[in-house]
Amino acid sequence: MWAFIHKLGSPKWFYGISARLSPWCWGVAVALILVGGVWGLAFAPADYQQGHSFRIIYVHVPAAFLAQSIFVAMAAAGFIFMVWKIKLADMAATVMAPLGAGMTFVALFSGAVWGVPTWGTWWQWDARLTSMLILFFLYIGVIALRGAFTSRDSASRAASVLAMVGVINIPIIKYSVEWWYTLHQPATFSVTSRPAMPTEMWAPLLIMVLGFYSFFIAVTLMRTRSEILRREASKRWVRELLGEGG
């Protein structure tokens, strides 16, 4: 088990294995997103209340899911880096942060756009949107903190600590914001929390969510590979690899 973890933590080994995994992830991501997108846009039935604006759910919810998952993944990578000093985990955490911030932004944007036909306003202090907005600030904080240090080692550690502190806080923030929202807007209807959804509606949603997760894995693999090359530029295996490749 330990040997496996340390092997997994070796950039060289990871570089090799991820090269084989990467095309599959991209293939799965593209296929799922295409299928889910077309299904959701053209074939899923319209909502009886919201009509076709309901189709925004197929990008809003996957983006929101991913935004939260990426933060948790980033904190987990930070934890692994701090406890076992596996630098690979930090490289992954480095590349995850901007993607997470981007996903949060898309979730916010699609949520805001969805608000116009639903609530008649571009911004509603809805519980979900508000916690998304806070999550966005948390991402910005992690990215800014990492950028503020001149020493990369210190930057990595500081960003890891902040990500871990943030991940402890996310559920607290989420619940307190929900509580706050119900207190102030008791009867407003929330766009995504609805009772039973028919299969034709949630099946494309599930496909989209899975597609987004594959996309996340594919991008993280690819960018981590670049980050490995950048950080391990003076290692022999990188040189041999490049020497062979021309």
Binding site: S151, R152, D153, R231, A233, S234
Partner: protein, 214 residues
Amino acid sequence: MSLRLQARKLACERDDRWLFHDLDLDLCAGEIVRVEGPNGSGKTTLLKILSGQLADYRGELFWRGAPMRRVRRDFLANLLYLGHAPGVKAALTALENLAWYQALAGASGDEDDRLAALETVGLAGFEDLPTGQLSAGQQRRVALARLELMPRPLWVLDEPFTAIDREGVAALEARLEAHTRRGGCVLVTTHHALRASSALRSVRLGEGGAGVER
């Protein structure tokens, strides 16, 4: 069990640059070990590692034969570290500063001891002034008074001679030698030429290479 700090195959990489690697070092009772090397060769980093501040190194550290990670508190109870900054609070008086340092070690301390220590470093009459009103050299002396006050066997001193006048330098050198005679040990970096003595040893840090003992 006597004082002994060992480093085995010590290496430190900061941001992809090897400051030093394969460094073996033995510090024993009765020694002054001087770390030499050009600017940026990692002298301060080495001192920070050997004083247990920086955990980001490869290799092993042993304190009295046991791995450092396990005996860290015992090690710290025997260590006195003076860094680049004197660690003296400008708004506190010299006495208050020393009292805090004694308390950090876990002892309430004694006012007479503190007064005596300040007198030894030539600060008699300045005990009750906020140290912000003292000169840089005098502030440094307040920090050096800790050497008198706290009987820690292992001293790790980063540029202790900074801002000290000539008599002060001579007194400090004599103090270091007296410390080694009592079975203490000193690890020091300095640009100042130390008086040759049988206790003195040098470790040279090269440029990105291994340390060489001389």
